[in-house]
């Protein structure tokens, strides 16, 4: 298992894809921070929409970064579909005897890689918050720790879902397309009250408490509790892992 994780670490960090994606994420984060903090200064009639004050603005910013679900999805897809689409997976001699371990190694490595990149982006957003946001007060150690572990869990969930799409579609383009379509549809479905009970995005927000900060949660009515958010996000993780394993098992020749 250690060897498989080392192999995945080499594949993730020694190729350009991860670094290019990370740069894009950081630039996008800076752009978002600019919209939230600089745009209101040049627009007179903001209707109170951007009135996010410190220290809640740090949590809101973290929520914005974690909302960039394309990052873990693409990273996970590259980790698995990139190999399924070539002979790399089909000729891996340990494929059948260690299928579960291969999956876990990719799950852990992509999660950690996505987490590190997201933490970097959160730092960028937080620096912008520190200098540009209204209000006073900073997050304490517990507040930052909360952001860190929640970010880890959210990346794990989206990586698991990315692996699930990869395991079934077995090609980078279709897997990324389907995964991104899923995020779009999932976002639309929150307009349907029944789906809100299990919506990943709503329960991720509940887990983070990010939508409560600016009063955005009122748009969607009452947000689920933190406990329910945690359970639903974990459930989506389990679903992602199980679908990934089933896809690899059933679709390997």
């Amino acid at each position: 298992m250690t060897g498989l994780i080392k192999a995945e670490l080499t594949k993730t960090f020694k190729r350009r894809t991860f670094w290019v994606l990370t740069i894009v994420l950081v630039l996008l984060t800076g752009f978002l921070a600019g919209i939230f903090y600089l745009l209101p200064r040049v627009i007179d009639d903001q209707g109170g929409f951007f009135e996010i004050q410190k220290p809640g603005a740090y949590i809101f910013g973290a929520g914005q970064v974690m909302g960039q679900t394309w990052f873990p999805l693409i990273l996970a897809t590259m980790a698995l579909a990139g190999e399924l689409a070539t002979s790399a997976w089909s000729t891996t001699l340990t494929r059948n005897s260690r299928r579960g371990q291969h999956l876990v190694a990719r799950l852990l490595t992509s999660t950690v890689a996505a987490w590190l990149a997201v933490l970097l982006a959160i730092v960028v957003f937080s620096i912008a918050t520190f200098f540009l946001a209204e209000g006073s007060g900073e997050l304490d150690g517990v507040g930052w720790w909360d952001i860190a572990w929640k970010a880890l869990l959210v990346q794990f969930t989206w990586v698991a879902l990315g692996l699930a799409f990869s395991a079934w579609l077995r090609s980078v383009g279709p897997a990324i397309g389907a995964a991104l379509a899923f995020t779009f549809v999932e976002g639309l479905l929150i307009l349907w009250e029944g789906f809100r009970e299990v919506s990943l995005s709503i329960h991720t927000s509940a887990l983070l408490g990010s939508l409560s900060v600016g009063g955005f949660g009122q748009i969607l009515g009452d947000l689920p509790s933190f406990r329910r958010g945690l359970i639903v996000v974990l459930a989506w993780s389990v679903v992602g892992v199980l679908i990934s394993w089933a896809g690899l098992k059933l679709r390997d020749a």
């Binding site: 060897g3 080499t10 594949k11 190999e83 790399a88 000729t91």
Partner: protein
């Protein structure tokens, strides 16, 4: 001792029968050729032996171990290239070997030695995206040797390589055979197999056609000569009359016998004087074609 024993392998992909009760053995410590036309079932057989696909029926033992029951033990003791080498683009040659070593649970100690062995020592730091096909094939061979395996299974290792690349791989395989390793090679290039292997298994349509020592198989096969004469029709009639099978092929005469002197004598007695009598080249090719002729 046999390195591989397969009994009654059957595999069907929807309507296509890939393996049809195939049984064979490959001896240990020798270089063996695995031959068959395209679609004969060679790759499916290799994939089955390596646990990459499950046959519908039959049993396989590799190095005396059941593939079905104890695959992880087998994987540690063999190296393989099946179909396209499974290399990771975007990584250097050296990093590819490191990834392969880690994936197979083997140490990285041999990485530099194997880069040298495969002639890629100075290219190890380059991304493989810039490698030629021959360089990738040599890197894949190096990866298959990471665990110092007892058995090497190589599916078309010379396919698509230029003559220089083929010569390098053949040299490497001869070195490995000299170290007492069991090497099994499939190839379309029969003269390469003839030059490297001393045992062959020939299959077609998932069935065994022939197996055994190359020398004895070729010995049992009537090879022959190509004769260049002015009157091929009359020469063919003369030879057929004295019991030597001969047919006209264009301007030449194809004669099926190992006794070249008898051919020369019979033609001389009929006052036919050949410009050239040459042993037909590619004897394994003839054997292969004659074996697969009825199935094509």
């Amino acid at each position: 001792m046999d390195a591989i024993v397969a009994e009654g392998l059957r595999k069907r992909y929807r309507k296509t029968v890939a393996l049809d009760g195939l049984s064979f053995t490959f001896p240990a410590g020798r270089v063996s050729g695995f031959l068959g036309p395209n679609g004969a079932g060679k790759t499916t057989t290799f994939r089955s032996l390596l646990g990459l696909t499950k046959p519908d029926a039959g049993s396989m033992e590799v190095l005396g171990i059941s593939v079905r029951d104890r695959l992880p033990e087998i994987v540690k003791r063999l190296g393989a290239i099946v179909e396209e080498p499974g290399l990771v683009k975007g990584l250097s040659g050296r990093d590819n070997l490191v990834v392969a070593a880690n994936t197979l649970g083997r140490g990285r100690e041999r990485v530099d030695d194997l880069l040298e062995f495969s002639g890629l020592g100075s290219e190890g730091g380059r991304r493989i995206d810039g490698y030629s096909k021959g360089m990738r094939q040599r890197l894949a061979l190096a990866a298959s040797l990471l665990g110092d395996p007892e058995l090497l299974i190589l599916d078309e290792p010379l396919d698509g390589l230029d003559p220089a690349g083929q010569a390098q791989i053949k040299d490497s395989l001869r070195q490995l055979a000299g170290q007492g390793k069991t090497v099994i090679v499939s190839s379309h290039n029969l003269s390469d197999i003839e030059a490297m292997a001393d045992h062959v298994v020939v299959i077609n349509k998932g069935r065994l056609l022939a197996a055994g020592d190359l020398a004895s198989l070729l010995g049992s096969f009537r090879s022959g000569y190509t004769v260049e004469v002015d009157e091929p029709q009359r020469a063919a009639a003369v030879l057929t009359e004295v019991g030597i099978p001969a047919v006209v092929e264009g301007d030449l005469l194809a004669v099926s016998t190992d006794d070249g002197a008898a051919v020369a004598r019979a033609l001389a007695m009929a006052e036919i004087f050949p410009r050239e009598i040459a042993r037909r080249s590619g004897r394994l090719e003839e054997l292969f074609l004659s074996l697969t002729e009825g199935d094509r």
